[in-house]
């Protein structure tokens, strides 16, 4: 048979064996999915966003189904940094895959304290800084909606954390390129986009909102074209590596983002409806490359328009 296929990519110093990661909030801390498949097959795992103290999140109902998508307002429920280090990280560090921890703070100082604590653990290969959660009152999008504060958070995290820092960007802004530019100037090693789009839904029979928080984040296949456009815009305007996120469910979805210039992608909502979706995408990428006689994934990235 032909040459070996090389799926490995390097994203701002973070080496991945393949470009398929699981998106934050869509994979918990990994243990549940490990009862279904071997997580070491993944390019990387991104944890649920951590805050310093544990959070219960919003009361139910937290989710509702929409056409080819869903709304969620989980409200950053998470175990907090202390429990994460004691109970979750020991599991993650045994995996042969990149371990990326997502962090979210309600103050600049909280982001910095989280980064300082996680820097002590070499097994945390990278941080993804969530400055784009649309579902919490304080923090999150407060920092991600304006170029100035977004850059300051990244600079504060970068000062504390010596390895790869990824800024996760919101689509709920006037110009995503401006935000990406600001975090790049502040030292971000990569950007990931998009977080969810703000939406809501109403039950006409009960005349009530379908989720308790009223506003939620839209995700799933329905958002993919929006996400792809934003990824392409950032790639076209900046030199920083981009990780594509937004409704990626199949190999062809992932390829669209890679062709548009994303160096890697994250699979989110698709993990809910098919836990093995990331593995199917990895297998599908290999088949596509074999058919195209391309042996290095980097020869695909950003090649849209080159025929």
């Amino acid at each position: 048979m032909g040459l070996d296929i090389d799926l490995s990519v390097n994203i701002g110093g973070l080496k991945l064996k393949n470009p398929i990661m699981t998106a934050s909030g869509c994979f918990s801390y990994g243990q549940e999915a490990s009862e279904i498949f071997d997580l070491s097959l993944l390019g990387g795992v991104i944890t649920k966003s951590l805050t310093y103290l544990p959070r219960e999140g919003h009361p139910p109902p937290k989710v509702c189904e929409t056409e080819a998508g869903m709304l969620n307002a989980i409200g950053l429920s998470n175990v907090g940094i202390v429990n994460f280090l004691a109970e979750k990280l020991p599991f993650l560090e045994k995996l042969d895959t990149a371990c990326v921890v997502s962090i979210a703070g309600s103050t600049m100082d909280e982001y910095a304290r989280l980064a300082r604590k996680l820097a002590e653990h070499e097994s945390v290969h990278a941080l993804e800084v969530n400055i784009s959660c649309p579902n919490v009152n304080e923090g999150g999008l407060e920092f991600g909606a304006e170029p100035g504060p977004a850059g300051k958070v990244i600079a504060a995290v970068k000062k504390e954390f010596p390895r790869t820092v990824i800024a996760k960007l919101s689509p709920n802004v006037t110009d995503i390129v401006e935000i990406a530019e600001s975090v790049a100037d502040s030292g971000a090693d990569a950007v990931s986009l998009i977080n969810t789009l703000v939406g809501t839904a109403i039950d006409i029979n009960t005349r009530s909102f379908k989720i308790s928080n009223v506003f939620g984040g839209l995700s799933g296949p329905a958002v993919r074209p929006v996400a792809l456009a934003m990824v392409y815009k950032v790639v076209s305007n900046l030199d920083i590596p981009v990780i594509g996120i937004g409704g990626i469910s199949t190999t062809s979805d992932a390829l669209e983002f890679l062709l548009a210039g994303a160096s890697a992608v994250q699979v989110g909502t698709a993990c809910f409806i098919d836990p093995k979706a990331p593995l199917k995408i990895i297998d599908g990428l290999k088949k596509y490359m074999q058919n195209q006689k391309i042996y290095d994934i980097n020869d695909i990235i950003g090649t849209v328009g080159n025929r």
């Binding site: 279904i36 009361p59 139910p60 409806i273």
Partner: protein, 275 residues
């Protein structure tokens, strides 16, 4: 607990009553592990209509044959599409999921309270309990529906020789009354029972109140639509009382969120804070 996620064929379709179907799947991995009270998530097709898989309680599992079955009512687009699959079609199944029931301990008398398509997990629990030596005469099984045409039984339930009471809200078949009514009159005769219940939320809430008022032991199996079914999304979370507050109905106190899919679907009576 190991879980499986794969495409498995429908091998048998039966109509139990109008709009209520029994499907049997050939899925040896899932059938081999399934315990009463557990469920599976099913997607009929790889498209996104609907997006989420639909949860179905396991009605029975035949380990040697590698089969398991579900009973469901056609309700919305997920169940309609499933109803329209043909035998030998493959559907995507994730399972077995959830905590399931603890097998009945000691020699308490048991009451199974099944509302509508809440019957499957309670049949499975009864069948396994009887097979493991639990005396059938110590189990009372109440199966209720709104009207005669929504009552269903495929013969297996009667075969277990439990005390079987069927009821309908309108009295068109069996005793007249709701499952809650029948449960109350049974408990009036003999209050020393452990109650297992599965059915609509309104019914479970009433049964929970009865169990708490009589200070009995009881277990409730919740039905909830859920994006993932295996604990990663937290979307199906319900409010629960911390153990020290059980028995209290002052729900302005602290609550904990628990995921129906992995912390449930079976909860202790007194645990869930109802809307």
């Amino acid at each position: 607990m190991r879980k499986y996620s794969d495409y498995y064929p429908v091998i048998k379709k039966e109509i139990l009553s109008p709009g209520i179907l029994k499907f049997t799947f050939e899925a040896p991995e899932i059938a081999g592990l399934a315990r009463p009270g557990q469920f599976v998530q099913i997607r009929t097709s790889d498209d996104y209509f609907p997006l989420w898989p639909r949860p179905f309680s396991i009605y029975d599992a035949d380990k040697p044959k590698g089969h398991f079955s579900i009973i469901f009512k056609i309700f919305g687009c997920g169940t309609s599409r499933l109803a329209n699959t043909d035998t030998s079609d493959k559907v995507h199944i994730l399972g077995p999921l959830g905590n399931g029931f603890d097998p009945p301990a000691g020699q308490n008398k048991l009451i199974m309270a099944a509302g509508g398509v809440g019957l499957p997990p309670l049949y499975f629990l009864s069948r396994v309990s009887v097979e493991n030596g639990y005396p059938a005469e110590m189990i009372t099984f109440i199966s209720g529906a709104r009207t005669k045409k929504e009552l269903f039984e495929d013969g297996n339930l009667a075969g277990l020789n439990m005390k079987l009471i069927t009821c309908t809200d309108d009295g068109s078949a069996g005793s007249k009354g709701t499952v809650v009514d029948i449960l109350q009159s049974e408990l009036a005769d003999d209050p020393e029972r452990t109650v297992y219940a599965c059915g609509p939320g309104g019914m479970l809430k009433k049964i929970d109140m009865i169990i708490m008022a009589k200070r009995l032991r009881g277990y409730l199996s919740l039905e909830e639509l859920m994006p993932c079914g295996y604990g990663i999304c937290s979307g199906c979370a319900v409010k629960t009382r911390p153990a020290e507050n059980r028995g209290s109905t002052d729900d302005n106190r602290d609550y904990h969120l628990k995921r129906v899919c992995v912390d449930g679907p079976v909860f202790n009576s007194g645990e869930v804070i109802w809307d």
